[in-house]
Amino acid sequence: MVIREPELPAQDPIVSRSTSGIMLICALLLTLTLAWSLYDEAFGQRPWKGIQQQFVSRYTRYLKSIKAQAGKTEAEVKESPEYQTLDGEAQAALEQVKPQIAEIDHKVTQIQSELDAVTDPFQNQRGKLTVINYNVEISSGGAKERYRRQAQAKRAELVEVDLPAADGSGKAPTQKMNYEQLEKLFNDLRDEKARLLGQKADLLKVPTELGKKRDDYLKHYMTGLGPSQIDGLIRKMDQFDYSILPHQISVNEFNIVDRCEVCHVGIREPLDLRAEDLAPGGPGKKPDSLARAFVSHPNREILQIHSPDRFGCASCHWGNGRATTSEVKGHGRHKFWLWPMFEKENTEAGCQQCHAKDRVTQGADTLNLGRDLFYQRGCMGCHRYEGFDRETDALGSTRQSISQLEDQITANQKQIRLDEAPPEGTSDEDAQKMLAQSEALKVTNSILAARIDQLNLQSKYLMQDQKKVGPNLKDVRLKLRKEWIPVWLKNPQGFRPGTKMPTFWRFASTDDAGPHMRDADGEQQIQAIAAYLWQDSFEGTIPTQQRGDAGHGKELFENRGCLACHSIGDGDNKIGGTFAANLQKVGEKANFDYVVRWIHNPRERFAPYCPKEKRDLTPDDYAKHNLPYVFDTELHSRCPNDGAELQVQNMTVMPNFRLSETDARDIATYLFSLSSPPGYESAAFMDSPELREKGQALIKQYGCAGCHEIKGFEEEQRIGKELTVEGATPIERLDFALLTKKAEEGIDPLNLHGASETTPNAPPKEEKPWYNHKGFFEHKITEPSIYDQGKEKDAKDRLRMPRPYLTPEWRNALTTFLLGSVGAEGANVPQSLFYSPQDSRRQDIQNGWWVIKKYNCMGCHQVQVGQRSVVMDLPFYQTPEGKDLLPPRLTSEGARVDPSWLLRFLHDPSLSGEKTPAENAAISNAEQAAKPATTPQPSPSASVSPAAKSSPTPAATAGHLKAQPGLDRNGVRPYLKFRMPTFNFSPNELQTLVRFFMAMSGQQEPYIKEPLQPLTEQEKLVARQMFTSGTPCLKCHITGEPTHDAKAIAPNFLLASERLKPEWTFRWLLDPSQISPGTAMPTGLFRKDGDRWVINLPNPPASANEYHDDHARLLVRYMMLMTPDEQRRLLATAPVAPAAAPQPQKAAQMTLRRRRDETTFNRTRRAPRATLAESRSARTVARPGM
């Protein structure tokens, strides 16, 4: 009822207005909010719950589906005769001891029941006694005595014990015992029980061991999990904990909290889960994205090394390990998250984060490829990357140290002068002090001088090892066709597809698609650069060469190992390596004479360079000091003017193949037969001095000297940005230029991930934003010019980075490398997690990789298990015969060879040893012959048409090139056509390599040879007979005897003592295929007889039967102690080809045979080698006198 009060205003809001509507809405809103928040709390914030439920149901279903099969495999193993035997043995052994066990068990049960009966009364009494004794201890006087008597009474007291009867009747007649009896009975029973149990254990020992053997067998031969294990997993799923905590990784030490496994539940499951297994429709059906998220980690090995419990997940993969509310957040694909998860193809960027100091990281192939490319393709010519340009960096710091030490010596000298002439009025005492000080300073100076000596030596070595990616452009006049240079600059990829030389889009003109960003004066820039190079080049002559035998040259080119680095052929017919240039079109660009000289010895420099005077020396510099114009890395490496270490060789990694001049000429002839120069446009402008000046500025601007040696630019610094931590550059500081918006919208002008590439069957690609580091790097290295497009800039400010040649795989590898290059600042883990091995073994390995990769050792050799060399995949080596011709496998080199031998071998793979005086004389004769400019002007090789080779005239000038030490000689394997070339490693690199091989095989350094027991006469006899019977060793191993060696295919035993390690040799004899699969050395030469290995022959020589030690070890000793006399003796008895007249040969084989004979001739008679080479050259060199 409402009482109206008229005084009140008609419009009283209290009565006239109702807030119930608002209240209702608010209440509804509140309820909704509450509902929403409850919902959000339960589901919105916990999307992973549903995901986990999915996993559990799918995984359980999968486990059930494989259980039957698992049971079957287990049953199969159990049915195998081996298992049956083992099981039978185990059962039998158990059966055998069963009665005894039963008896013991029976006894033990009985004793136990007695013990049970005794224990309580005994312990009762003992407890009471303890109390009384305690009272004795604490009381005094009469009380003490009283308690003592009480104790005695207690001991004598008889207690009732219900001891069970021994007959097992179950009756337990009551007995009365005093404490003594009780104690004895208790102890006796206890001891007896222990004795019986020990007996039982002894009896069970054999059956238990057999049972374990059987179970181990099952474990070994069961593939996958057994049914009981699968049941365990299903149970685990039944009890699955749907929450975060049990699935979270937390590493306090490194502040890592990763919840990736909250959704990726299958990552560490013991089964290899594939997406198909967990498909929504059941195992084997089409997987969805959840199924793909549930798979187990694809690389368990890496999880073992980097246990997630210690490293977490995001440390390697990046992403936001803590986020659980959405996939986007968890994967860190949020603009405010600094470490977005790496794309799948760039996963190995995560390795680089911590392994930045590695040259090779095991298992990270993409990353390793990225490092290789950065090194080999010349990126580091412009961009510094810490650790990459090792020699140059070290050389800089060495030179700096030298100058600091020199300054200190000068300062000390000044002090010495002062100290030795004390001012007037100095007391004797002070004068003596000063003299003592001056003396000390003199000694200090001599110590400093010694350090400078060492540093000088270091700088010599470093200069020897310093290489350039591109060729020496001081040689252009000697090497190239003048007119070809502008053609090359204009479009290097056009001339030689895949070349390392990048396209300088600012002046290059290319026909390929893509933005054309050429400068307006592009053509002039080319001319200017060409003019500078042409005018600032060595002037002089190199020996002219006659064309040789192209057929033989082809054979050499394919056999000697050229294709490990170089490729030949074009398009799909290309074969060979990508480490060095494709040589298909050398004939179009180069001077034949120069190429012959280069093949003969690529390190032979035209003139030495003095870093102190910053110029190339001339013969006059030497003449001034009455020195012959001789420079080499050994005795003639110093500047005649100022003693500075010179650059005496071409800074190329190409080694010297120790080819004769004739062979070098044949190879060059072959290469020149592949193409002939077209008519080039005249390039007279290259002689213009004005253009030269402009060219100089351009060369500086474009940083050509980063990769090439160019006159006047020897000390030029890198022009590019340092990239050591480029991956950590804030995204705002990556210059997307005008493309930022397009990148954010996902519009890709280069269409890098278009449907046509890499994944043809991928679902139609939606536009994917590429405004991120990956997108920036990919676009930058693919087409650097796009970031200059549409910009208004002065010429000098325009981007300079050229466009490198990259395959999609290479692009991805380089991007991966750059993405991971974040340094300590940009890393998402503390630096203490970075990999920096402290043990010398791992350091030796990493140091070694730099050298191994630098010289492309893996082009010919297998250095790592599982790695394929380039030559292994060449078409010539696919047949069973071809495989026998491949270079040796080096996977166990450190275990195989003596390190000091290896050092010598790497220094001189011909193993021709110290030069004899006669050889030295021959070499210096050759030097004399090469010195005077009697050789005619080098002719443009175009004029030497292929026809010229058919009309040779006797040579007027012969033996132009320097003598070749170790000519045509393979030190260890002369039977191989491949040749281990001379790399002219400095002692630094020699040591690094030796240590690398030793470390790779886990060998101790230094190596101290175990002494070998000398052979008794009897042992010699036995060994000799074993050597020549069965599979006679000398049938395949060379001996140095030419007729015999013509058919031999294995190394000389005379090398064994210096070269091989006995333990390795022993293992090699037993089963060589374990060490080098596919080797020609057969398995089964020995068989096991008890503990020793005996020769595996149906009818072994009688002496061997009487020899009761290990036969294989005897042979190792015999081999290690082999002498030339002993070997001759063996040859005489060996049932192999008698050293008679050579068999009639077919015409086609004659040449080959003759060469081989010459090789062996060179090997056996060392001294006249050089002169022989000379005379051969004289015989075969013939050129028209023009």
Binding site: F43, T325, Q878, K1035, C1036, S1073, N1096
Partner: protein, 288 residues
């Protein structure tokens, strides 16, 4: 924002889904028993055969005498040892390996999907007179291969397979036979002897027994073939890694299909009267 929405919808969908899954428990076990039956299927019924002959067109390369000076024993035992890579008699090629490469029986089962038990008898590869006898042989997977040395000298047997493990075993004069098996099919495995580089043999390993080696007269017969349409291949060692030719053949129950091949200069197709595909030049190793 868009993302959260998507997630909301997703989670809602999920929770419903899980709810549904929780309520309807039944379908889980229904699918668990469906493991695909692999192997085990054997063929029984009428069979036919494939016969044919291998022709060699053009002039056959003459056999060359082998220089056995590396081991005089070989020269003594077999003074006329010569190359065996192309043995042609009256225009017919011996030592070609013919096998069913592909195809299905009439019921649609692929020939490789049947399981065939390998014979318990071993195939013998003998070294007699410093060459392998036979020069080409066929064997089933897991069938025993016995290698004997009948020479008064030592050999080492060195097969260089791609799909099976490689081994290189010495066998001195008088040594007991070596027994080996190959677990995977491979056509063909070259066998060499490192001590006698001229010694060569080729082993064709197949999962089924339908293969043959052409005889001195170039003829071959493959028996016991289930009726069906097959790709028959003939392989011969000429060329760097061998040459293989194929043709399509239909085998009728109790019938005999003909498959003639031709090697040599002109790669003529075989008998035109039969249903066949043009002969193809396929290098052998490219496929394995």
């Amino acid at each position: 924002m868009k993302q959260t929405k998507v997630w909301l919808v997703l989670t809602l969908a999920f929770s419903l889904l899980i709810l549904a899954a929780a309520c309807g428990k039944a379908p889980e076990n229904a699918e668990s028993g469906t493991t695909p039956a692999t192997g085990g299927k054997t063929y029984s019924g009428d069979v036919g055969s494939i016969t044919g002959s291998i022709a060699y067109t053009g002039a056959a390369p003459a056999a060359k005498k082998i220089d056995t000076s590396a081991d005089p024993v070989c020269g003594q035992k077999n003074p006329n040892l010569s190359t065996e890579d192309t043995v042609v008699n009256n225009g017919k090629l011996a030592n070609a390996f013919i096998y069913i490469k592909d195809g299905a029986a009439t019921d649609g089962t692929k020939i490789g999907d049947y399981s065939w038990t390998p014979p318990t008898t071993a195939v013998t590869l003998d070294q007699n007179g410093c060459h392998y006898r036979p020069h080409v042989l066929g064997i089933m997977t897991n069938q025993k291969l016995t290698i004997t040395n009948s020479d008064p000298t030592q050999h080492n047997i060195h097969p260089t397979p791609k799909n099976n493990p490689e081994w290189n075993q010495t066998q001195p004069n008088g040594a007991p036979p070596i027994e080996k098996t190959f677990a995977r099919s491979e056509v063909l495995i070259p066998v060499k002897c490192n001590q006698h580089p001229w010694m060569k043999s080729y082993i064709g390993v197949l999962k089924h027994p339908f293969f043959a080696v052409s005889g001195e007269d170039g003829s071959f017969t493959i028996k016991g073939v289930p009726p069906g349409t097959y790709t028959v291949a003939a392989w011969h060692e000429g060329g760097a890694t061998g040459t293989e030719k194929t043709m399509q053949v239909t085998v009728a129950a109790n019938g005999s299909a003909k498959a003639d091949f031709s090697f040599g200069e002109a790669t003529a197709s075989g008998n035109p009267g039969l249903q066949m595909m043009p002969a193809l030049d396929v290098p052998m190793f490219g496929r394995h």
